[in-house]
């Protein structure tokens, strides 16, 4: 049977009047889209290979290249879209699962865009962050309900409470888990160094810790996932906190898969697996089949690290996230990270990424409310993750009840990522989701660190402006303060779950 070609997604438009045939695009494209013909001294393109990463467009010195979406192909059809036809075609040919990268791109409602923030007028002066102090510091970790004090012989107050270990965040934003292996070492170095300089934390994912990253231990959350890759005593001791990964928003309920092509010598050392073998982490932890098993692992990890490190648990936002989170809090977790369905991934079956889980907005609102109802909210910190695009999203999540947020996709975009969703191929032209030494060197960590720092700085300034507008000078007073949020274009039920009033209703 004749093979039907899968539809071409992008068209490389080359302005002949501007192309100088310098061949920068030819040399740089890892997908071999651009072809140089020495006889005619011209460059042509193979559109079918283009993934739309825009690397060539960025480098072209004469702006001769424009990557455009291919508008032609099939008759418009609301049911049988180009991507549906293309997926079916691929599956008919290969009999395989369709893989993809990054977060869900389907047009489900983004609730952040249906929530509006408050500002002061007349009765309460807004605060100008350029002239007045504005505090963004947060502490992540388990806290007692009350402080215990004592008086010494001189009548001076003495502190009796011994706080459990906390993570100090200068800005309530952290870099979410991305494993060395799924992303390049230069990406990890950029995240680690930026975290160090910003006073925040990054997360190793389940990639273990490359030897060059140990020096950033104080700003590292080390992750333990179902594959236990790279876990050894020194790894546990090096991080500032330990995170048990139960699930991921992009692929709740399934494990991870790092293809053997990405398992280079150094990746294999960090993960403690043979070079070139697929690193497959199982769907569940095979020592956690219940909440009491989780409790045991949390305490085993605390024992192993002399109770010096907070132990958090990361779960995907699924339908039962509320009771699950409550159970996790009761199992002794110091923080719960909840990853919504728009969270990214290096590789996931497309059908799972696009159809499983719930948005982080509902998850964080419902979990925060339930933990308060149960009187255990102070015992555990909440971290929201999954598709935070701007400081606006971040501040809304904090007002809904998150103590801090995890960002990853936006951090990668800061490093160059253009959301082509081809991370699983290992051919990332931006040097991010690849281990190919020809490609990884394209991410200069010096530039990476600066761009990440710029992003967080920019968001911090914006958050300060928004806080000041609300008449608040400490993020502490916004966390869980839903009176500053209003819903727009939402049903009563949605407003109820988010725990906010409608726009137009006073406080």
């Amino acid at each position: 049977m004749a093979k039907r070609p899968t539809p071409t997604e992008f068209i490389v438009e080359r302005d002949k009047d501007r192309c100088i045939a310098c061949q920068v695009c030819v040399r740089m494209c890892s997908n071999d889209v651009h072809i140089y013909d020495a006889d005619t001294n011209t460059v042509t393109s193979d559109n079918s290979k283009c993934v739309g990463c825009h690397f060539c467009e960025t480098l072209c010195p004469t702006d001769a290249i424009t990557i455009k979406k291919n508008e032609s192909s099939f008759k418009p059809n609301a049911n049988w879209s180009v991507s549906v036809i293309s997926d079916i075609t691929k599956q008919a040919e290969t009999g395989g699962v369709i893989l993809t990268g990054m977060g869900c791109d389907k047009p489900y409602t983004i609730y952040w865009d249906h929530i509006l923030l408050n500002a002061s007028q007349v009765t309460n002066p807004s605060i100008d962050p350029l002239r007045e102090p504005m505090e963004l510091r947060r502490y992540i970790g388990r806290k007692p309900d009350k402080i215990e004090l004592d008086y010494n012989k001189k009548g001076k107050i003495e502190l009796k409470t011994m706080l459990e270990k906390q993570l100090k965040l200068e800005v309530p934003i952290m870099f979410s888990a991305m494993s060395y292996g799924s992303v390049s070492l230069n990406t990890c170095i950029s995240l680690a160094k930026a975290s160090h300089e910003l006073g925040i934390f990054y997360n190793t994912g389940e990639g273990g810790l490359h030897k060059s990253l140990y020096k950033y231990g104080k700003n590292t959350i080390i992750q333990i996932a179902s594959g236990r890759f790279g876990v050894h005593p020194e790894y546990l001791r090096t991080g500032a906190a330990i995170e048990i990964k139960i699930g991921q928003g992009a692929k709740p309920g399934i494990g991870g898969h790092l293809p053997g092509e990405k398992v280079s010598k150094e990746v294999s050392e960090a993960r403690m697996i043979p070079e070139g073998t697929d690193a497959i982490s199982p769907a569940p932890h095979h020592d956690i089949y219940s909440i009491e098993d989780l409790r045991q692992l949390i305490h085993a990890l605390k024992e192993a690290t002399d109770y010096e490190k907070p132990v958090g648990v990361k779960i995907a936002a699924v339908h039962n996230v509320v009771p699950i989170a409550s159970g996790v809090a009761r199992a002794g977790a110091d923080y719960i990270a909840i990853d919504g369905m728009r969270g990214g991934t290096g590789a996931a079956p497309k059908v799972i990424r696009d159809n499983v889980g719930i948005p982080i907005e509902f998850a964080i609102a419902a979990v925060d409310a339930r933990l308060r109802e149960e009187g255990i909210r102070t015992k555990v910190s909440l971290i929201a993750a999954g598709g935070f695009r701007s400081s606006g999203d971040v501040i809304k999540a904090i007002a809904l009840g998150a103590d801090a947020v995890y960002i990853a996709t936006s951090a990668l975009i800061a490093l160059g990522c253009s959301q082509c969703q081809k991370c699983y191929t290992g051919k990332c032209n931006w040097g991010i989701a690849t281990q190919d030494p020809y490609l990884t060197k394209r991410l200069n960590p010096e530039i990476g660190v600066q761009r990440l720092k710029n992003l967080i700085r920019a968001w911090s300034l914006e958050i300060k402006d928004m806080l000041g507008g609300m008449g608040i000078n400490s993020i502490d007073s916004l966390c869980g303060n839903r009176t500053h949020l209003r819903g727009i274009g939402l049903s009563d039920r949605e407003l109820e779950i988010l725990g906010i009033k409608s726009a137009g209703e006073p406080q």
């Binding site: 009047d17 501007r18 100088i20 045939a21 310098c22 061949q23 920068v24 040399r27 740089m28 960025t58 480098l59 010195p61 004469t62 030494p437 020809y438 060197k441 394209r442 200069n444 010096e446 530039i447």
Partner: protein, 147 residues
């Protein structure tokens, strides 16, 4: 004294440095005219070397003990007093190619249109050599040499 330094770890091998070097030393300094209008475009004075995954851009090192200075019989090669750069005076150069013969780095070439030597001049007159300015990954740096 400022010199161009390459961090080969981050050289992507895109060769944009060569393109911008060519444009900078062209008549019009306009990229489209240089490549499509001018009768002969200049040769690059920076060369990207490639071996396996390693790529790096090389140009005149402006050696402290520069063999080209000794080898030049007309005195066309000279050291700029202010910057310490090794430069070639076009009016004096007769194209004997001795400098090309003795250069240990192979970074002097023949000019594409005249019978004179062509080499990196650190883009005299610019704030920063154009290869450094346009390196997309900041692999090329223009900094004070430590020794």
């Amino acid at each position: 004294m400022k010199r161009i330094r390459i961090d080969e770890k981050y050289c992507m091998g895109c060769r944009l440095c060569e393109v911008h070097c060519i444009v900078q030393h062209s008549k019009t300094k306009n990229i489209l005219k240089t490549y499509m209008g001018e009768c002969s475009k200049p040769a690059p004075r920076i060369f990207v070397e490639e071996k396996g995954y390693v790529t790096f851009a090389l140009q005149c090192r402006h050696c402290e003990d520069a063999p080209c200075l000794d080898a030049c019989m007309t005195g066309a090669m000279y050291r700029d007093k202010e910057t310490g750069a090794v430069l070639c005076s076009e009016d004096k150069c007769v194209g004997c190619w001795m400098c090309i013969m003795v250069c240990p780095f192979g970074v002097i070439s023949r000019s594409s249109d005249k019978k004179i030597a062509s080499k990196c001049d650190l883009c005299m007159g610019e704030d920063m050599p154009v290869c450094v300015k346009n390196c997309p990954n900041e692999a090329l740096k223009y900094e004070d040499s430590k020794d």
